[in-house]
Symmetry: C2
Subunit: 363 residues, 2 copies
């Protein structure tokens, strides 16, 4: 079977066409069967392709003039779904012209367009934004939701757990990923009612002996343990997830900035730094977001991957590879299957989420 091609929003991201095309070409160097639908300004895409002759035969160009702005309100961008590179890339997944879409553009607009065009899977009330982060172990940790919704009820959180586990199985190969709910303590009484209800629902579903639920629910996790690697999937609402993700990023940058200050503070430490460069390069590799690029919208009828706005070609290549891997491993079908295995009973409580900042919420 040939892998369905991947639609790339060539206009999104801080670096634009050149980096998006270079990233796609880089991905194709590792996976020669990748095919692309490059969406955006044809002359600029063609110019970028000149540096990557191998890409010519593997790519079709879908021309459009319009681009979603980085600061544009999602509600505004959505009205131009039929004319923008982002909207057309997502639409290609809907029509089957592509199997997955990758964009480095405005997250909120991409989420909104994807929701409208692809709709949520049966049994999913809300999609979620998931990303992988490095840990002290060999595998990465999956965290969701990172900002698709500002709030989540117990039912949403259970669905996020199922979606995150399916994602973790594909990217990390765990049979039954260890799933925990992000909370401000690990005791059962901690946190909000939504968290305690979701924990009860997941515990009950985990205890079933028919093995229907392909995850191991193990209670709560605090945010200082996210990067330890003992948890494979961290489930939370979009507000807390966004706060945790950015706090982790900011703190890592803070420490490396301090380190840089420290290393350049004296001649002795400058010498030390040069001698230990291989060590600090290893650190840099672990912390470089381009090595963990590609946030995924889970819960939709189709695969949409958000590449970081400031990702370089390597980062874009990673996002493309993630999209291809999720396609190949039938992410969407797996989530649908797992939801069925979970049973409607476990989700029977007709919880209502308290707020949906939806399309404007993603950061």
């Amino acid at each position: 079977m040939t892998l369905p091609r991947i639609a790339v929003d060539a206009m999104g991201g801080d670096e634009g066409v050149r980096v998006m095309v270079e990233g796609a070409a880089l991905a194709r160097r590792q996976h020669a069967d990748f095919q692309f639908l490059l969406v955006g300004d044809q002359p600029r895409i063609e110019a970028a392709l000149e540096n990557h002759p191998g890409m010519r035969g593997a790519s079709e160009i879908l021309h459009c003039d319009d681009v979603v702005g980085g600061d544009e309100l999602p509600s505004r961008a959505m009205r131009r779904a039929k004319t923008t590179s982002m909207g057309l890339a997502v639409n290609a997944v809907k029509t089957g012209a592509a199997g997955a879409a990758v964009s480095a553009g405005n997250t909120g607009a991409l989420m909104a367009m994807s929701k409208i065009a692809l709709r949520t899977l049966p049994g999913i009330d809300r999609p979620a934004l998931a990303a992988i982060m490095p840990t002290l172990q060999a595998h990465d940790v999956v965290m969701l939701d990172l900002g698709a919704n500002t709030e989540a009820d117990a039912r949403n959180l259970v669905q996020f757990a199922v979606m995150g586990a399916a994602y973790s199985r594909i990217v990390n190969g765990f049979e039954r990923p260890v799933v925990r709910l992000l909370n401000i303590g690990t005791e059962e009484i901690k946190g909000t009612e939504e968290l305690r209800d979701a924990a009860a629902m997941l515990t009950a579903a985990s205890a079933r002996t028919d093995g229907g639920l392909a995850l191991e629910f193990d209670g709560f996790v605090e945010s200082d343990k996210i990067n330890r690697g003992e948890t494979h999937v961290v489930v939370t609402d979009g507000f807390s997830g966004n706060i945790a993700l950015k706090a982790i990023e900011g703190s890592a940058r803070f420490v490396t900035d301090l380190l840089r200050q420290a290393f350049t503070s004296s001649l002795r430490s400058k010498v030390g730094f040069l001698v230990s460069r291989p060590a600090t390069e290893l650190l840099k590799h672990h912390l470089d977001p381009n090595n963990h690029n590609g946030a995924v919208f889970l819960g939709l009828n189709g695969v949409v991957v958000k590449s970081h706005g400031s990702a370089n070609a390597k980062g874009v290549a990673n996002a493309v590879a993630v999209a291809a891997r999720l396609l190949e491993n039938k992410l969407t079908e797996r989530i649908a299957h797992d939801l069925g295995a979970l049973g409607q009973d476990a989700l029977g409580r007709n919880g209502k989420a308290r707020g949906d900042n939806g399309s404007e919420a993603a950061a």
Copy 2:
């Protein structure tokens, strides 16, 4: 005027009596006028005092047999407020036997006992837990609430802003600290209704020309910017604050763990590490929580400082020094004054917090 003495819960914390007494002694070496009420097991306190002869004349011992357990439910601990070292230390502030209390014990229990014994200041609906964290600048950043309440309405957030600003003025000396609300984006439309309402109230109060509000409200801040130092006070609900604080701690530990792995991975990098040791010591100093120890319960009729459970003597000394500084600078009176200056108008919207996990919430 003599500084009122400080009640120290000598039994709290992972290390117990020895470290608490050593910490108090260390604080007194820098501030010879400090006086203590040491609460706990008299024989053990006396044994610890033998190493610190100077402390004898500056300390009174209040004996008790009972101790609050580290994992004990706050609701359970509260019933023993009259017999435990923690309860008696807080009660000493209530009766005036001490001016402030310091404990390294169970945070939730300390919060619950303090709330009941000291009650909130007039105009404060809920107290908050505040801590200071290092930044890239010379000053620290104050963040609150860190877990006293799991949720906060707009009115609570405005009160937290006033309390945090008073704290920042005392510990960092800013005339008008820059205050921002923690959110998942900086645009006005981002986040929850509570955040947008609080922003509107603080903007209106900041714009008043009578200069009543001794803070500069500057909108939203994302969690990756907390440690940049551009914001002096970060205001949030207790759930998000706890998530952000622990994510920052965990990420800093993750990076330093990676660094340790990297530095010990080869002989070359080991040599480099030794040569650059002064630089990494500087880093360690910045990140050592003992240099930033002492979370404060703000909004009560009295000063209560929570020392980290695993703090060493230096950390305890810092917590004691923070307590003394807040006493000396009349934190409580300042908050009361600022609330008056804010005016009841700004808080007139009778918002109701959506949940109070109160005494069980603090982590």
